[in-house]
Assembly symmetry: C2
Homo-oligomer: 418 residues x 2
């Protein structure tokens, strides 16, 4: 894509009132736009990152047998009454609205109820299970405060998968596969090293849950890490002697670090299946409630965490698989020679199927272009200038490790991923 065409521009100043580092950088770089606190639009470059994260998660969910659907944002009171969660006292961050005839509607904060209810129309025999069903859908949460940028929004897209199994063994086996799938996701989006599998308390549905926590000062949690095993526990479990013993952790070895929860998986038991009568008949004809599990990843949370973990003082640094473009081709100078060489390089890279962002802007200084390239954070910067032309090469610079090398024309393709 040509940078001269892109409608967004970089901004030197952070927007007033924005305190989260991830949002400040993403807004300055033109990746997102703040509509109001906790509500962000995704601009073209940001949407490309978002879609890459979505694609990675989808591939991993499909690999464990997930079936994708798309539930609705408008939700019915009757469905939520079944579990008693319609009440604002139970879910305290509901957004609600109403039809013209005054019928109240919920605006989806989560989807356990609608999905369990839906499944009662399709599954009832032991032959219909197990099922693993997921979606990418917007969640609306009426947070009192929203100061974490895209890491905790009032409106955000979540991948939520729910598992429906016939017995505890089947549930445990799938739960273990999802741990692996999540590990793959965080590795692929580029924060695998900083992300720890974390034992945590379970909230209202279960005694315990398993979190994927990424070490970053922008996090709202504190985890205690055993670096040897890469296992950690959430602060709230630190004084639970039984848990420490269960996971063979010694309190003295644990190191406390600030972290952000990027994924959360936990058993739901039969709370929802019993409320909606989602039962199956086993081989002997006995009715049994389905055992459920819940597996969430907030896409904005992941994107914001990548920014927090990877960015440096010059700007964003995107891991290869989520980057909007593999490389940022920067033309320095507007002379006919440079123009011809840069255009030729761009066209050849495009023809070779590479995803290239091309700074073809005229009348913009070298300093400004290079600063923009640092802020925008494509994994590789490729400079074409009078100097590189004289050397019959282009200049490559890796945004992560900042290493610079001159690459002869013939070797350019091999150096860039697709």
């Amino acid at each position: 894509m040509r940078q001269s065409i892109l409608f967004t521009k970089t901004q030197k100043e952070a927007p007033k009132g924005e305190v989260a580092r991830n949002a400040i950088l993403l807004i300055r770089a033109g990746y997102i736009y703040k509509e109001m606190a906790g509500v962000y639009a995704y601009l073209p470059l940001g949407l490309r990152v978002f879609r890459n994260i979505e694609r990675i998660i989808r591939e991993e969910m499909d690999a464990v047998g997930g079936q994708e659907l798309l539930l609705t944002s408008l939700q019915s009171q009757a469905v939520w009454e079944k579990t008693g969660r319609w009440s604002d006292d139970v879910i305290d961050n509901w957004f609600k609205t109403k039809l013209v005839d005054e019928t109240p509607l919920g605006i989806a904060s989560t989807h356990e109820e609608p999905l369990t209810n839906l499944l009662t129309h399709y599954a009832s025999s032991h032959r219909d299970f197990p099922l693993y069903i997921y979606q990418f859908q917007t969640k609306f949460r009426n947070e009192l405060r929203a100061k974490s940028g895209i890491m905790r929004g009032r409106e955000f897209v979540m991948k939520d998968l729910y598992s429906f199994c016939r017995n505890e063994e089947e549930h445990a086996a799938f739960y273990a596969r999802m741990k692996e799938a999540y590990t793959n996701v965080f590795k692929r989006v580029g924060i695998g090293e900083q992300t720890y599998f974390t034992y945590a308390s379970g909230g209202s549905f279960s005694k315990a849950s398993d979190e994927f926590q990424t070490v970053t000062d922008a996090g709202e949690d504190t985890i205690y890490i055993d670096e040897e095993t890469r296992f950690s526990i959430n602060e709230e479990m630190l004084d639970d002697e039984a848990s420490l013993k269960k996971f063979n952790l010694s309190k003295e070895k644990l190191v406390a670090k600030k972290s952000a929860e990027v994924g959360n998986i936990f058993p739901l038991g039969t709370k929802f299946s019993e409320a909606f009568g989602l039962m199956y008949r086993d081989e002997s004809g006995n009715e049994k409630p389905v055992i459920m599990g819940s597996y969430g990843i907030g896409l904005g949370r992941v994107m914001g965490t990548i920014v927090e973990v990877c960015a440096d003082e010059k700007g964003l640094r995107w891991p290869h698989e989520v980057a909007p473009f593999s490389a940022h081709l920067v033309r320095l100078g507007d002379s006919e020679t440079v123009l011809t060489a840069a255009e030729k390089t761009y066209e050849e890279l495009l023809r070779a199927g590479k995803e290239i962002f091309y700074d073809d802007r005229k009348g913009v200084s070298a300093g400004e272009k290079l600063a923009d390239a640092d802020l925008l954070g494509m994994p590789m910067r490729i400079v074409v200038s009078e100097k590189t032309i004289a050397a019959n090469a282009v200049e490559f610079r890796d945004r992560m490790d900042r290493r610079v090398s001159m690459v002869p024309y013939g070797e350019v393709f091999a150096r860039i991923g697709t």
Copy 2:
């Protein structure tokens, strides 16, 4: 995909209270689920159709230079006050909600205001324009009645593109390109022949608008068609002598037909750019308001219309480019011979990169399987049975024209698109 794994099942009966033919068929086939009137979830097969329509539209929008972003569903009162459209008297189908601190919020019914407002942060020079910006985003509309299935929902995804041009000539040129892009979209989704470019009145923004109307009894409109030129006018313009003359139409030649509006494009003029101060400085430094245009396609509307136009008395019939799968491989019989032959065919088709839905269900009668295949409506049905094995072939049946032919094994791949 194996049908035995898919969680949805076909249903013989139409759901109570559902009156729209498109929704009845889609629900019976397990493509969608009715959450409430005008609010439908997309189940795995339905989501595949939906994504195909989305992909086609995206390709056509990118081809005319569209830049994709994703605006928010939660909207601010202040932004909408700028055009006076916050009032329920002006937009009578708003859904609204509020923050914990009682701040009112709009739930997006459309996005002209937020987008125009957003652009004032990025574009101000004549060099920044023209711009063509689009998104696929959910619209929420508090319709009094919702009886048209997925053709008119209270919650639905729309592709909305907005153009921002410097002068009328630039606007007219882009407007003409969008007409072509829309023509391509409707052709590719399989309703090109039934869809007419229609001159209509313009509502509150402009004197006239251009609609793409698809002839179907399920439509809410009536258009008057000149079959020779394939041009038509909306009923409301029939007595406008000036328009008839302008388009060289003679009233006697026009044939009235019921139709559904599948796309709508119209000039917005400077209404929004003036309200938000979206101006550009021309070469001489004079400030001028940007000239806007609006181009919408509702994805559910298109999908519902395809159903209304293409379905027959046995069920759905998907045009090739939007079908969830290119072919439905149906195994008749569970004998070892048939099982082996069907599995081998399935695996070979998958390896060849074909998108195949495979009815591998055991203990289901031939009649039931064939009826399901008709209802589900993949473009091609491929039967493997004792009979076809004896003939060293498979049976192909085209869902559209119902033509049946025996295809020798060696020629199977060539007969199925990707």
